[in-house]
């Protein structure tokens, strides 16, 4: 059966979603109507179906396949959160699913590579020789070295390296 709900996930979802008010989903499509990603990539990303899958406890339906962004299309711009008539925090739920998927090693490479870069170089965009040369040309002092070891230590302590399946 494809439609066996993941009960542990439902519990986690409620921990994020049910804080005070009970907010049921209308499936009214307002989130998909305003979503910039859904407009740019029709058929590949749609918050409404993702929130449906989450509420039903079927997070597997929200994870992507090669031709679809699905959950990874969410850029956390919060437009859907603001428009939702029932004030459902969709991006919170999507972030939860993303985190679970990353831990299970189901995240696509393009998603984790950025985190790996930070882990390796201490910054999201490492310095490139071309930029170094340009800085020299304009007389800007060389870029100060950042303490990569310290960042690595923090990230290892927060278990990021473990979650990304790259030790050290």
């Amino acid at each position: 059966m494809t439609f066996v709900p993941n009960l542990e996930f439902k519990k986690l979802l409620l921990d994020v979603h049910l804080r005070d008010e009970i907010k049921y989903c209308y499936q009214c499509n307002r989130c998909s109507d305003v979503c910039p990603v859904a407009a740019a990539a029709p058929g590949r990303y749609e918050p409404r179906t993702l929130i449906m899958a989450s509420f039903l406890g079927l997070p597997q339906l929200a994870l992507g396949s090669p031709d679809k962004f699905m959950i990874w299309g969410c850029q956390v711009c919060d437009t859907c959160d603001e428009i939702c008539p029932n004030h459902i925090e969709l991006t919170e739920i999507f972030t939860l699913i993303k985190n679970i998927a990353v831990q299970q090693g189901k995240a696509p490479d393009y998603y984790t590579s950025q985190a790996k870069t930070i882990l390796q170089f201490g910054k999201a965009i490492p310095m490139q020789p071309a930029i170094e040369r340009r800085r020299q040309k304009f007389g800007i002092p060389p870029e100060p070295k950042c303490n990569v070891d310290e960042i690595k230590a923090i990230l290892t302590e927060t278990k990021l390296s473990k979650k990304l399946n790259m030790e050290g």
Binding site: F3, V4, L7, L18, I22, Q27, D33, N86
Partner: protein, 458 residues
């Protein structure tokens, strides 16, 4: 194992089935899980085959349409007998829709108009022939499905949005999934006496809940909220303790209320969908029709009647949870109308004129009501996606019907108009030619207006 489903067709236009078929390839995900045993719109199963099914054999029965004649009534009763879950699909089945406006007329008048006076009836030798044979008797008034049988799930809309129907079907399929917990045990089995959280005075539902099949261990620091559903073998001593603990709480704190809500949602596997009204969802029923759940007494403790699991102590605890939620005002249930999903700007919430739909072209950015057009948005349930006002520059007609806690959509809209209309009331009287048809367009059959009944003697 696939689930048996049946789709019944009463007096209606088949539009709701069209809406379901609109899912196109989206249906492919769902279809392998379904065994369709009756669906006149799509497959050629005879009614006899449905009659020969065993009672309760079909898991879900969808009923589209309203009850206009005796055959509709018989078919509805047949569906209730054969199906475990009955879904009223579409505005006709739930609210009577435009068909319900016929209730403003007497049955004789209606039949005469249709079979004798209608201009479209051809040659004069046919005209005036009142069909008596091979036609089912017309009922005195139009009824909705709920007037005849118990309905478990109501899915309004004319038609319900494709996505709504598919979501509802998916939810029903998740209900059919085999239990992932082990209902022959309780979470507290194996927890020594005095070590469970409930004995330490904390709300923990382990005594009436099932553990997971792989035997997930009870965490002594975190209350168990029913992740793997309810058990068949509750830990009686500690369940009684939980009942006692709950009954002593005069007012729930916010934290406790959230715990109870989570427990109910997890243990009963509630959908969390608001476009449909599901009778099996006590939170929804409590929020929208609190008066429909009666009170009863267990010993000296008042609880709300909840009978579903068949195990008294579990039913009692859930009933008590519901009562505490109701009485402590902690059941904060969000509900939205079409207005909450509308993009139009509302400025002063008044209008000085009343325009008919066809008069001029409405401003795309301004609220319809402020422009003087009739729009049923304020009294209509959200869920449709607000396609008419946002996309088509057409006011809401109210096809999704009222929110469950609004008794009469038409009356609500009348009072809305009474409070925003600044012009001469006489003008309004003159302009609104058919108030029942305008304010109760989709809901007359279930409205307080009822219908016309002719005195037999007169």
């Amino acid at each position: 194992m696939s689930a048996k489903v049946a789709f019944m067709q009463l007096s209606s236009c088949w539009g709701c089935h069209q809406s379901l078929l609109n899912a196109h390839l989206g249906l492919l995900k769902v279809l392998p899980e379904l065994e369709i045993v009756y669906w006149p719109a799509v497959v050629d199963f005879k009614l006899e085959s449905l009659k020969k099914r065993q009672d309760g054999e079909i898991i879900v029965g969808f009923i589209e349409g309203a009850i206009r004649n005796e055959q509709d009534r018989q078919n509805t009763l047949l569906m209730r007998k054969k199906c475990k879950i009955i879904v009223a699909l579409g505005a006709c089945a739930v609210h009577g829709s435009v068909l319900g406006l016929a209730n403003l007329y007497d049955k004789e008048d209606l039949l005469r108009r249709k079979f004798v006076e209608a201009d479209s009836i051809g040659s004069s030798d046919v005209k005036g022939t009142w069909p008596k044979e091979h036609v089912p008797e017309t009922t005195d008034r139009l009824m909705v499905v709920e007037d005849v049988i118990d309905v478990d799930l109501k899915l309004p809309g004319c038609p319900p949005r494709t996505s709504n129907i598919v979501s509802a079907v998916l939810y029903l399929l998740t209900l059919l999934a085999p239990p992932q917990g082990d209902p022959s045990k309780s979470v507290y089995d194996g927890v020594p006496k005095g070590e469970s959280l409930v004995e330490k005075g904390e709300l923990c539902f382990g005594s009436i809940c099932a553990p997971s099949k792989d035997g997930s261990v009870y965490n002594k620091h975190e209350p168990w909220l029913g992740t793997y559903g309810l058990t068949n073998k509750p830990d009686m001593d500690r369940a009684k303790k939980l009942f006692e603990l709950l009954s002593l709480k005069t007012k729930l704190t916010e934290e406790e209320a959230v715990k109870i809500k989570k427990f109910l949602m997890l243990a009963l596997n509630l959908p969390g969908f608001e476009f449909m009204y599901f009778k099996g969802d006590p939170l929804q029923v409590l929020a929208k029709r609190p008066e429909s759940i009666k009170e009863e007494k267990v010993g000296n403790t008042k609880i709300l009647v909840f009978k579903k699991t068949g195990i008294k102590i579990i039913d009692d605890i859930i009933g008590l949870c519901l009562l505490k939620l109701r009485d402590s005002n902690q059941l904060k249930f969000n509900q939205a109308t079409v207005c909450s999903t509308c993009e139009r700007k509302v400025v002063d919430k008044t209008t000085a004129e009343f325009k008919r739909d066809y008069a001029g072209i409405a401003d795309m950015n301004k609220c319809f009501l402020e422009q003087g057009y009739f729009c049923a948005g304020p009294a209509t349930k959200a869920g449709c996606g607000t396609i008419c006002p946002n996309r088509a520059n057409a006011p809401c007609l109210g096809c999704y019907g009222p929110q469950e806690n609004i008794k009469d959509q038409g009356a609500k809209m009348l009072s809305t108009f009474a409070s925003i209309f600044q012009g001469d009331p006489e003008v309004l009287k003159e302009k609104v030619l058919d108030p029942a048809g305008l304010f109760n367009r989709f809901t007359l059959a279930v409205s307080t207006l009822g219908g016309k009944i002719k005195d037999k003697e007169a």
